[in-house]
């Protein structure tokens, strides 16, 4: 049955083309989490590149802040059907981070891992060439803890569950290892424009 007078969400005509299939426009920034907000003191925070690298590289928060950053204005789509346009982030590209390590030839895939045990997997070639960054500012302010602060991964061209909040590192792998949601019915790749929401899509 249709609920009388319930209009639900919108796909406004002026931005319709920017909304992937099945998505609705949101103007706020919904908080979606699989667990409580971790609180990591910055003097204990580190970020590591490990796995199929010549030798792992670790940054402290102070060291990470010294890396060159860029501003990114991107559209973000969450698999729960909201899309937010023109989100402004500031962070370090994965390309910049990769300058500090020597990848082994069989490094093809990446597992991003976070405080609290969350993981997600992405092909390495979809994290490079400016396609992904570690963000620590949103909308010109420090990234709030409930949105993934102090730092999160942002991969705008994939569903937002791939943009791991509270990220602590990237592990380079030979095989594509399903992460937290990918191992429980979500699509291993997650392209919103192909509506790759669930495995089997």
């Amino acid at each position: 049955m249709i609920s009388r007078g319930f209009s639900g969400r919108r796909r406004p005509a002026d931005v319709e083309k920017r909304l992937p299939p099945g998505q609705y426009l949101t103007t706020d920034f919904p908080v979606l989490s699989a667990g409580p907000t971790p609180h990591v003191p910055l003097d204990k925070w580190t970020f590591i590149l490990e796995g199929l690298v010549q030798s792992p590289k670790r940054w402290t928060w102070e060291e990470f802040q010294k890396l060159p950053t860029q501003t990114f204005t991107v559209d973000i789509s969450c698999v729960t059907k909201w899309t937010k346009l023109d989100m402004k982030w500031r962070g370090v590209t994965v390309d910049t981070l990769l300058e500090a390590v020597q990848l082994l030839p069989n490094a093809q895939f990446v597992v991003a891992f976070s405080n609290g045990g969350y993981t997600t997997n992405i092909p390495l070639d979809e994290l490079v060439k400016g396609q992904a960054f570690i963000a620590y500012e949103y909308d010109d302010k420090e990234l709030a803890p409930e949105h993934g602060g102090p730092a999160r991964l942002v991969v705008p061209h994939l569903y937002f569950w791939k943009s791991a909040k509270w990220i602590r590192g990237l592990r380079f792998m030979e095989r594509n290892e399903p992460g937290f949601w990918e191992s429980l019915g979500y699509h291993i790749h997650g392209d919103p424009w192909k509506e790759e929401r669930y495995s089997g899509d």
Binding site: S33, W181, L184
Partner: protein, 102 residues
């Protein structure tokens, strides 16, 4: 679990009662009275009292004592996925009338 912060993520946190309907759809009976034992800290908690994060791509039920994931549930258009590896067991009474006198 003592919690000093009051961020929005915490205030959005519910408990197993919130997914009683979904669980009954999947399993054909109420599961909120199921006793679960945490695989990490061994705390025994009724499923209705597990911390529930429901505003995510799926539902995550966590141990209120140590925060570890006990159960995860995803609903896709055609299937339900349930991962209960975080629980040592789930224990349900066979006789519904016995529940009344606990």
């Amino acid at each position: 679990m003592h919690r000093k912060d009051a961020d929005i993520n915490t205030s959005l946190m519910l408990d197993g009662n919130a997914i009683a309907g979904e669980l009954q759809q999947i399993f054909g009976r109420d599961l909120t009275m199921a006793m679960t034992r945490c695989g990490r800290c061994s705390a025994d908690t009724r499923l209705g009292a597990l911390m529930a994060f429901v505003r995510a791509p799926g539902v995550v039920l966590r141990c209120p004592a140590c925060g570890t994931v006990i159960i995860r549930i995803v609903e896709t258009p055609g299937q339900y996925y349930v991962d209960a590896r975080g629980a040592v067991f789930m224990r349900l009474d066979r006789d519904a009338r016995r529940l009344a006198h606990q």
